[in-house]
Every structure is written in structure tokens, then in C-alpha cells.
Symmetry: C2
Subunit: 447 residues, 2 copies
Amino acid sequence: MSKLPNMFSIKHFLVVSLALNISLILRIVYDNEDGLGGYMRLRKTTTYESDTESRTEVPITHRLRLSTSNFANSTSTDHAEDRDRVINLDHGDPKMYDKFWRKMGDKTTITIPGWQSISYFSDTTNICWFLEPEFAKEVVRLHNVVGNAVTEGRYIVVGTGSSQLILAALYALSSHNAAEPIDVVSAAPYYSSYPLMTDFQKSGHYKWGGDARSFDKDGPYIELVTSPNNPEGHKTGPVLNRSNGLLIHDLAYYWPHYTPISSPSDHDITLFTVSKSTGHAGLRIGWALVKDQDVAKRMTKFIELNTIGVSKDSQLRAAKVLKVVSNSTEEENTQEGESFFKYNYEVMEQRWKQLRAALEANGLFTVANFPNGFCTFFNKKTENLPAFVWMKCEKDIEDCQSLLSQHKIMSRGGKHFGVSQRYVRVSLLDTDENFNLFIDRLSAMQL
Amino acid sequence: MSKLPNMFSIKHFLVVSLALNISLILRIVYDNEDGLGGYMRLRKTTTYESDTESRTEVPITHRLRLSTSNFANSTSTDHAEDRDRVINLDHGDPKMYDKFWRKMGDKTTITIPGWQSISYFSDTTNICWFLEPEFAKEVVRLHNVVGNAVTEGRYIVVGTGSSQLILAALYALSSHNAAEPIDVVSAAPYYSSYPLMTDFQKSGHYKWGGDARSFDKDGPYIELVTSPNNPEGHKTGPVLNRSNGLLIHDLAYYWPHYTPISSPSDHDITLFTVSKSTGHAGLRIGWALVKDQDVAKRMTKFIELNTIGVSKDSQLRAAKVLKVVSNSTEEENTQEGESFFKYNYEVMEQRWKQLRAALEANGLFTVANFPNGFCTFFNKKTENLPAFVWMKCEKDIEDCQSLLSQHKIMSRGGKHFGVSQRYVRVSLLDTDENFNLFIDRLSAMQL
């Protein structure tokens, strides 16, 4: 009689203890870090897929599975190492794009001779004197091809990723003689890095003012508008609309594979980045389209004082990549090539189908439904296919991030975006292997 | 009688008016801008040599002239366009190095396929998770080859140029809970960008405290030490040496072609940059050797919040360039190649010879004499050959920068370095064409 309860309790103790360990490790990492650095700490306690693994060349059709009935029949994800592997879907690391660029072979290969990039200067006739003319040309061409932004009469400012451009824009828009720093606001849920980026320098020019919806001061302010929104995925606009407000539009995801392109954006300051458009996050290249000359000058000055310009090599690579994206679109129209946007729209469409099926299977989370919209780029109705899924836990689950971490899925909880931990953001841009693991775990998940 | 004075006064008026125009344009640029942006504004009013012109392949021996008697017999600089051309020796743009790298042919050529640099991450096991392992390896190797820095037990943090690393170090060293920002000081004449970089964000963490020699507060401080010093060229150390002081050593010029390497540097935080070591300013790559793990973590965090890492492409290019520099040194020892440091030491030696001869010819300026020193790298006594010449105007000249600008030489006046305008800094790292024009104008200069 006494033997059975004893064995039972030891097993139970072991399971509870292991779950607690994993949960605690993840919690420590998350509570301390909102940025990318947390990844590194976790690395030592888990197995992370190597570059080689994540870059295995497998035709996309073999990886993607359509129906929920297939979820039990995992292929590569059946291995023991995969079952134990923590998958990091916190950061939106765009590894999904690796496959398309490998398919393109040497079309985007670039050769840089040793004597290139000696001078600090790229174009001394341009306000943004470190902007490579070739990159500027391809930015304009791509926006014209896609129809997602007005470029005429705009100054282009290149940045070390759009992060640097957000800081440059805050610097440019704030009055440097003001007694108080200007408030920087954004409607919750807002991009989790906005408060951190705004406040880490403890600048006397600007400070984080919180959720735009609850901003009740009379003074001037800067509103950060992310559309489609990160984390939610909806198209958005400013929520305050007061005469003393200044706007920065972060349109990182306003590309046809994520959202229907309704019309060319036409704002005072609009930010884009290659990290989320073409998937080249390691290039650290973003660009701003700026209406006002003086703002463009001040943004340039910021980047001059911050980093004395932006890597020429990465600008040249970005120029080549944007050129191939534009070419691929034009070739698609003449049936000669594979369109970057069409290919990646199909990947995202497939991923969202799997995701919705998995969510339906477990019933633990709710996710918004997005209306289809007419896309001027594809010239037909297309779906809204955000780069992240923003999930709300149902039933009595108070901490959605912790629930996922118990299932070895690293994600980013609602508190980082200014809302409750019942919400969580999960990246959909990882490798097929990791995305499939996520889907498998999600569909098998039970309370 | 009336005709002659009239003609005379019209001619005079024209000359005076033209001189005034040039002087005013230069003055506007300089008064508003200390950084690189001023160059761009001037561009529209002057003729600046095109890339093609500056990259003409002419053997260095044909360009360099040894004795003052040759100064009148200029070669390429005799053209009318050269006589009218403003030469920009303000920034230290290292165009001199173009020639060496062209000589190296395809040794430093790099080919990057389109699928490279997709992920944000370079090495998730490293504190500096965006540091490319290949770049880190070549940094360590080069320091070992040159013997200018201890790398053992150091953390390497890569930055978008050493500018970003200076800011990262200020952020890392300051106490974020302090009531007052920590004072940042440097001994005058200090690098002109230090005050601007420290204060442009109006940070609550740190603020510019001025000349270290006149710093009389009791509290904690950060001292920036540039050795060899920019602008002076002397080897320096901290001037305060108090127990509550923190040090950042900026050793951008501690390479054997500029100064005798006396021993490996061994400081808490040491900064280097490819801009001034190999001449690749357009890469925007610098690195820090950091003793304390926590400081390395905080510097990494700064770069994460500032630019989410550093261009991978430029790190890979920098790795290749550093590798070729190390190889060239080893090949030189086996008589197989041309040593980067030997070649560029000879260029600098030649330039300083021409410069001293020209200065002797006109007697308007004084320049320090530097003692020779034993260089452990060259294993012999070598000269101190700074990248800039720091000149003091003699006689009654109050504004040395204005005097040079009247001779169409853009330079940086003493006030930017915390001293009087009787001093001026002139870059010696420009193309042979521009350097020769500078020497010609200097030797022909009269009050």
C-alpha cells in the first residue's frame, strides 16, 4: 500500500521540479531583458539550432502542413532533440527569408574590393552626406514599384537600422531649448522597444510619456505610429490628433506580403527597414522619408554625432537586394522570375492558415480576425498576414508568456507592450523548423 | 588722372570682395559645424575632386617631393582648377590609404552572397551577441602581431565606429541612479568631437565637464584619454589620477605607422577603429577591449538600444582587411609581400619631411618636435608621425584657421579643441594631390 504513493509522488516531484526550473530560467531572462540580449543568456542553458540546421535546403511545400490532422505526424520535429529544444520566437528575427534568398542564387551576391569604403563621405552634395547614391536610387525605385510610399519631394536619411532613425527623429523633432523634455507617446499595445529606446539615454530633449490614449497633458508631444501595428498587426493611425503633436510613422511592415497596400503613405517622417521588408536584419539598414529639409538635416546631424554615418558596405548590399526585389516583381509580370512579394505572401498565408488551425484545436487563445483588403500592388483582395501573432489567453490564464515558456516557446508578454500579461506576441518569421515546432506545441497544448 | 584710380579701385574691390566671399563662406560653415556635415554645405560653392581624380594610380615616388626647392615646380597642382580648389583638411578623411589597398589588388576583395546577414545575431554565446567571431579573431591576431594591446582576458565589443563605442562606454560607466550626471573631462587640446558627442543627447547620465586640467570638483568623473593625442600627436596619459576617476583610453592612433609602439596597452577600456588604423572609414567599424564583464555587458546593451547591433557586412570586411594587414606583416618578414605598416610609415615619414621643410620656408607657424622612440614592432627607433599637424601661428596672427581658409585650406581651429584660435589642426591623411597642394600653398604663404 505504501509503495505506490511513494513512487507516484517522486515522479510527480521530478516533473514539477523540471517544469519549475525551465519556468524560472525563462522568467529570470524575461524579467531582466526586453531586448535581444536576453537570448544570449538563455543560450547557455538550451540547445539552439545551428546556422547549418536552420539553413537546410528543403522545398517549402515539404515543410508546410495544411490540416490539423497532420499536426500529430510531425516530420523533422519528432526527434528527441527537437522535443527538448527551446524555440525563440521573441525577437522577430527574420530567418524565414533565408530560403528565398538562397533560391535567388548569386543574383544578390556582391563583391566589394579592398579599396572601397575608404572615405567617410558618400555624396557631399546630399544633405545626408553618408547616403550612398545607389541605395537612395533603389529605395525610390522600390517604393514606386510597390506603391507604398510617396518619395517625390522627400529627403532620404539612411540609418543603422530604423532604431537609429527613431532616435534621430526624436532628436530632430524636439526643441533643444525647451525647459522640459517633450513627451513621446504611442497607443498601447506599442512596440516594446519604444519606452526603452526613448529613455535609456535619460535625454533632456524627450522622454517616454506612455500610452497615447491616456496622455492628458496640454503640451507638445511626439506620437509614434506603427502601421501595421507591432504587436497587433492592424493598420493604425495617430490616436491623439492634436495641433501641437508631431508624428513619426514607423511603417516597417507596410509591405504587400504582410498587408494589403491601400495607397502610398504620405507622412512627415516615415521609417522603413530592410530587416522586415527583405529580411536582412544583419545589415542594420533602415531609411527615413522626410518632408521637411530642416528635420532631415537634424536627423543627419544626430547620426553624424552618434556613429559618423552608416556602413557603406551594408548600404551597397541593401541597394543590390532592393534592386533584385524590384526586378523580381517586374520579371514576375513578364513570367520570367519569382516575385519576392508573391513568394513571401504565400509563405505568410500558409503560416497563418496553420496557426489558425492550431489555435482552433486547443481553444486556449484568441487572435483577431483581420478583414481582407484590396491591394494595389497585387491588384486584388489580399489578406492581412502580420509578422507576429498577438494572442490573448482565455480561461483563467493570467500569464500567457509563462504558459508558452512552460512549453519551451520564448515569446514576449503583454507587459512589455503596455498591456496585461494575458497577451503575448510570438514571431512568425523564424525558420520553417521552428515555426513547425511552434505549431506542433500549440496544437498539442492543454491546460 | 581720374581714370587710373578708378580702374585701380574696381580691381581692388573685386579682389577684396572675392576674398571676403570665400572667407565668409568658410566662416559660416565653421561657425555652425564642428563635425562632418559642414563639408556638404561647402560642396556647392567649391570644386571638390571627384572619386576618379582622387583615385588616379600614380606611383607614390612621382608624387612625393623631398626638398623645398621642388615646391615651386609643382606637377599636377599647377593646373588652374587646382589653384582655385578649396582643399578640405578638416576631417581626417583617410583617403591616403586608397593607394595601398589598390596595390593589394584582390587580396582584400570580399564576396557576400545574398542570404548572408539575415539574422540579427552573430554569436549568441558571446556577451557581445552581434560580434562576428571572424572579426573578433582577427582583432586579437592583429594586436598580437603589432604588440600594441593586451587582449588576453578582455571582452571585445564591436561598435559602429569608435564614436558609438565612446557613447557606449560613457553609458556603461555612469551610474544610472545618480542624482547628477557624471562629469566627462579630457585634457585640452582634446578631440573636438568629445564635448559635442557627450552633450548632444543632453543625457542625465553624463555631461561634458571641460578641460581635465581645470576640473576642480570632488565628485566622480570620466576622463577621456587619447594617446597619441588628437590633435597634438604626443603620447599622453590621464592628467587627473584621482581615486574616483574612471578612464576611457581612445587609442585610434596607437599604430606603428603613426607612433613608436613602446608596449602593449593595458587599460580598463581601450578603443580602436579601422578608420584610422587601416583607413576604412566608410566601414564604420571600431572595437573596444574591455576588462570588466559588467562594463562589456552595459556597452553591449547600449549598442542594442541604439542600433540593435553593428553591420555584419562591415565586420566581415574589417575581418578580411585586418587579416591582410597581419599577413602582410608576416610576409614582409619572409620577404614575400609589402607590409602595410612599413609602407604607410614611409608615406607618413615622407609627408612629415615635406611639411617641416614647407614650415621652415615660411616661418609663420610652429610645430612641436617629437622625440624618436624605440618601436617594438619595427624593432628599431622610429619617428612620431601624427595623422594631423597641430600648428601654432606666430607673429600677430590671431586666427590660424582663417589664415588657412584665405589660402583655400579648410582646417579646424583651436577653439574646437578647447584652446585659442592661434592653433589649428590640419589632416595629413588626404590624397597625395591634396597633400601636395597643401604643401605648395603652405610654402608659398606669406603674411
